[in-house]
Symmetry: none
Subunit: 216 residues, 4 copies
DNA sequence: TATGAATGAGCATTCATTCAT
DNA sequence: TATGAATGAATGCTCATTCAT
């Protein structure tokens, strides 16, 4: 009804205020979930962290579960980086891997704690798993499969079971992330100065662990 | 109070009865945690599954958390298979990897659901992470590191950053397991007929993904 | 603030606007109370039904209870039909009873649902009962008592305990109404084609149920 | 498992303890509902009135609604007096009416307050009305209809529309009860010394209000 | 006046834990 | 030891009411 300032296309001041409040609450929820886990976090905690009354939460989210879902979806948005990866086909593999991966690491690191708060619920509750898997994991894997196929066609990667290899690759990073989440000090440190680590991992993935003299 | 039979060294009938009861409750807890997750499981559920009164649980375990800890520890016992692995150094790598891995898969598959029930709590609660990490993850990684070092010394594996490589390896399996837990149908199917998959993974790990003509 | 037109004696345009708004909200409240009961109705419901913001309600009514009281009072206004009844003394009893009763039935039927929504609160909350009883029930009964006295004086009704008889009479209709409210299908149907029913009831009231041959 | 005392057929001590506790809570609920109405009564109130912890209520009743339903059902048991009424056919009408009615009044008076607490919910909530109507009202009316038919056959009551007459009769008492509940001082007093009132009502019902000289 | 977002007291219900039997 | 009824603190959520715009 009131969009008299030119602040944005299709967003009134009211809509922006509402979106901001929603975000404020969502961030608070992410913070508290991260600190105490989903079950350990009370709506009171979240309200306090958001500097809002408890009831206000319910003006923006149906219930506590809806907060979790919204958080999952916001993490899912990381996926919109897909384009970069398609574009990455131009680069040679080493450079692409290193650059893209470092880039990705930056992003994931920030959300790692939030993910660690969400993952438990994801594992424990099938009804949350399906939408998450469909909207986050499936597209990411599909994109990597296309990427790998292109590299194979281009002769950079040898022909192999692409779905499995991609999942092994994705799994490796998921697993390394999990080691961090579980508190492994080695990976935690490595995560801190990632350039060398990423290079070494690239090496492992490209050439495997076999000694030179040996034959497969 | 009663050790009049010679039934075992250091275990009276009473002690065995107690141990059996404890195990009965623990198995029930594992079952219920698996089905409903730690938070979804009530002590009432567990008592019913164990065919025991609610109060009886507290004669064997301090509280609900203690059940979780005991379960974590019992999963940690998988580690006692370590000897096999040390012995495995005699075998050539391919055979060792395949055999050991298939073996392991059998065990892990059985406990996978229980782990999926426990992991969320592990991730959410730092005070549980530390003992778990120390008693399960650290020894497993250390053992693999020793194993890898031996293989390097033996010239089967090329010299590399062993701690990182081992963690990448462990992470890969953790990550693949997580994809199963998250519901990825491809890995779930692959998990079902593991022989081929294991072989392909071995291949990937040994030789990497690089096309033959290329040079590192 | 603005009474510049001569629109009515003592009512400015503003006052009329205010009264209209009040009525609009009150009707909405009646509707929602009827549908969901007093406790089931939220101020949000009422605001939506009145096509008004929630806060606006509080510009016209102190609180939710005040809405109920206003509704009670508006039902009490049915009482202003009293004059008709006094006038009814001219008619012979049968005609008066039938005509007046049918008339009344029309009115009551419309408000029956609203009454069913209000009555529960009336029964449950003493502080509401008193004003209602004083403003609605007492005058109605008093008027009927005068009417009955007149009929006795006129020789149409035999001398009897007027207060009791009137209450038995009033009670009978209240009770029949309650049977409808409780869902009795027989009375509900009878309510639908009232002419015959009213005649039969008149008969019962006038002559009782005793068989002709019998003596009191 | 333990019925070693001869205290009752098929009731163990445990069962009796449980039944007693249930009754204790139910009585407390009746009391609190009566005082504050269903919505005004909190589970905390009920627990305090029953001298029990809040949680204990839920060991005996599913939820607050179940308390209400149990109360409704316990009032429905008044109906088991039916036999008396069938037997009452032996007595002459006047005596039967007076005796039975006085008897009934004693009972109803005691439960009147509880009924006043329940009725509002009955009126407001259709899902409660149906079972109540089916289990309490329908049988009572059916029984009175049979009774009336028998009296007609016996020549004590003139032929009339039995269903309507019975409902008018039932309605009259319901209505009088409601006037009491609404606080009418006259009926309240009359209720206190019922002998005369009952006789006068009998008179009204039997002979109607028509003056002797008049003709229908 | 009208609005509707913010508020927070209040409530039904759950469930781990205790303890008398 | 085993039992399971009793406990009551803790929690998610509702909704009448307020008040800044």
């Amino acid at each position: 009804m009131d969009d008299s300032d030119g602040s944005g296309p299709g967003t009134t001041r009211r809509e922006r205020r509402i979106a901001a409040r929603r975000e404020q609450i969502l961030q608070a929820a992410a913070k508290v979930f991260t600190e105490k886990g989903f079950h350990g976090a009370t709506t009171k905690d979240i309200a306090e962290a958001a500097d809002v009354a408890e009831g206000t939460i319910y003006n923006y989210f149906e219930n506590k579960d809806a907060l979790l879902l919204a958080l999952i979806n916001s993490l899912a948005m990381l996926n919109q980086r897909e384009q970069i990866m398609e574009a990455g086909l131009q680069q040679d593999m080493s450079r692409f891997f290193v650059e893209h991966f470092l880039d990705r690491l930056q992003i994931v690191s920030q959300d790692m704690d939030a993910l660690a708060a969400i993952l438990p619920e994801l594992l424990a509750r099938p009804e949350l798993r399906e939408p998450y898997f469909a909207s986050v994991v499936t597209p990411a894997i599909a994109m990597l499969e296309r990427h790998a196929q292109a590299r194979i066609a281009h002769g950079e990667i040898r022909p192999l079971d692409v779905p499995l290899a991609v999942r092994a690759f994705v799994g490796m990073f998921l697993g390394l992330w999990m080691l961090v989440a579980l508190g492994d000090p080695f990976v935690q440190e490595a995560w801190a100065k990632p350039d060398q680590v990423v290079e070494k991992l690239f090496d492992l993935i490209m050439d495997g662990i076999r000694a030179k003299g040996e034959e497969s």
